[in-house]
Amino acid sequence: MGGQGSGGAHGGSQYNPANVSGTGGAGQSGNYTGFAYGQNSALNNSRIEGNAAVASVNAATPSTPVEPYQGINMPQLGTLFDKTTRPDEPITAGVDGNTPGPGSEVLPQGLMNNTRIDENAKIAAQYLPDLAMAAKSPDAPDSFKNFVNYLIQNSQSVVQNG
């Protein structure tokens, strides 16, 4: 039995009027026919080149492996309540202060960069003139003036420290 879009039952005519090949009579082969003299071969050549280009692009696209970590011996992740895998290392290792083990100097450097200082300096430079003007208002509360003073001192220290 033919599926949808195939010929009619018992080899009869097609039921689906939209099932028409855009390439003309040779739709099964993909070759263009029915165009003006000389255009069929040109269209077919461009089709072949286009298919080759698509195939090369597909070949260059890395496909996701089924198991991305296949072949890598990763230790199985435990839970917080599992026994430690580093019995010789105190749990407070990496914490500064009067705690067992080394301090924060053993932690990897540069993984976490505190950008808050930069953000504060940037926003202070951007809004400080307006904030300073507002702080001069007789209605400005002391808490706001303290905040503006903090921004001024902070921006000056940032300039001095580079």
């Binding site: 209605d139 706001f144 905040f147």
Partner: protein, 69 residues
């Protein structure tokens, strides 16, 4: 005449409340939050309380002498 810039819920009032509630070290976040469109000072203060667990700090409304404009 009272400064309109210091009406409760104004930008500078918001900055004052957020900066003093969140801490000066968080000034960038405080100013960003102050620029948000808060429906009312009460809503703003409720937000501050929800993230700090404390009442909003900063100048109180007594600094601003309410007048009819």
């Amino acid at each position: 005449m009272a400064d309109v810039n210091w009406m409760p819920g104004s930008l500078f009032d918001n900055i004052d409340k957020f900066a003093n509630s969140l801490g000066y070290q968080n000034s960038a976040i405080a100013i960003e939050l102050a620029m948000m469109s808060w429906k009312s000072p009460d809503e703003r203060d409720a937000f501050i309380t929800s993230i700090t667990g404390e009442d909003p700090k900063g100048g109180t409304e007594k600094n601003y002498i309410k007048q009819n404009f």
